[in-house]
Amino acid sequence: MRAVIRVAIAACVLLVIYALQCGVQAGFTEYVQRIILLAGINVILAVGLNLINGTTGQFSIGHAGFMAVGAYGAAFVGVQLAKPVHGALGSGPLAEAIVFNGALLAGALFAGISGLIVGMPSLRLRGDYLAVVTLGFGEIIRILFNNATFLGSATGYFGDDPSGLPAYTNFFWVFAWVTVIVILIHNLTFSQTGRSLTAIREDEIAAEAMATPTTRLKVTAFAISAATAGIAGGLFAHMQAGVRPEDFRFEKSIDMVVMIIVGGLGSISGAILGGIFVAVSLELMRDLQQYRLVLYALLLIVIMIVRPEGLLGTRELHHLLRRKKAPKPAAPTESS
């Protein structure tokens, strides 16, 4: 019964996303559509990074590295998959969907495995030290791709076709993946595992004294977070016909950190808002050319002064709405 209801809901959601896609494609210019796709990819990045930086409290500033692994992995596997799948199923939308999603999952797997490899030794470190290790990892990955001749070195990887990677990424797939990832991460955050991760953030010594397998949970969360960055990377790769090492510079990692800090560390809805905020604000300021980075930094400083806890703090949007609808009978005033 539960499975049937879920499949029905999933079908409805996909239909809605498809309808929205038709609307977006009819109503907006290519340029605006691209910003919408970028916003969706940012949401995936932010929600994934929030799991480790916000919920678990382990600071990673190298997630562009995992995004790069996912992007290259998905691009490469996509090219390898295309021939046999198209040979067997022709070139219809079904074959494309299989190739694309297979490629995305492969990218997520690669990114997840690199998350495990980086996480296992480094999650014994805390705070600043972990940040330095992840920062170093991000740069190492970029430099590796910069020198990997079979992946196009510094020019980037564009597949075998002269016109570049197929542009599989569209509104439908981006937001289908946004929906899936937000639901999965939400369920994880509000589960026994999520409680344990929050406990690690709040007080690791106490969490350990309560028999929480802290290292194993931290590494698992890190790998899941890396895998979601991998999905975002795969979507990104198939949005712009190819992947270049310079797409995944240190600034990209910082952008992701900005998304979750602006939205409110530890809040999934905050991460969603933050992801959209970064995509839109960077684009709105594009006319200012080099001054936009100055303005962007100023904007961040203002947000940090006005709302240091981020737009939502650690709260979730639906919790706030629920509280407004049904105020607790004996609850004391908010200020207490």
């Binding site: 994880l188 026994q192 709040e202 010594i205 106490a206 004294a209 309560m210 028999a211």
Partner: protein, 261 residues
Amino acid sequence: MSLLELRSVDKIFGGLHAVRGVSFQVEKGAIFGLIGPNGAGKTTLFNVITGVYTPEHGQISFAGKNIAGLKPALIAERGVARTFQNIRIFRTMTVAENVMVAGHHLHKASIAEAMLRTRAYDRDEQALAKRAHELLEVLGLAELAGEVSGSLPYGSQRRLEIARALMLSPELLLLDEPAAGMNSQEARTLNEQIRFLRDQLGLTVILVEHNMAVVMNVCETIHVVDHGETIAQGTPSEIKTHPKVLAAYLGEEEPGIEAQP
């Protein structure tokens, strides 16, 4: 056979010999007091027993097995639960969530099942919430289950730590100054609750406490340490008049004064 046995345990921090050759046995079902002046090494002993520190020398056996040097999470899993002197609750989480964190062993569902919210996951989650609620009732915190734990008064936070420790279904409970910051009414309730834990839940309790009204009332055996070394062990009435204990607490002179700082 005793439940917990320490044999000549040493813990050294650089030049500081924090615990020196301490040995004691705690029988199953006992309420065992561990007292001593500030800095005597009581909390260090707790940290050594629970695996936060590894002792330099000596053996610690719990239920017949050596636990010295094991990781804290493993020792907790074997049935040694504790509370902390400087309250370590998970402050942003609700009271119920705090307790549920310690229910790891009751939640068999995997991470994938949690992400997909399967039936097995829901079942475990409900069982865990029910157990947490029972324990909150034991400690009189049931009404506060939905409150953010960091906003609770001090005494409630201490009781929340006990509830959380009980969630591990331990055999041995180490309470590090549970009465600190409690008023005398709360301390009296605490006495009853500690006895309840032993009599109804079959726990063995080791208590570090400065509040002598609590220690002398509830403990059957008291072990006194000073400067990391054992100076006495005995029943409350023996300890009250023990010359070395009086000396440690009050200084060498003026014999005959009761040890009630």
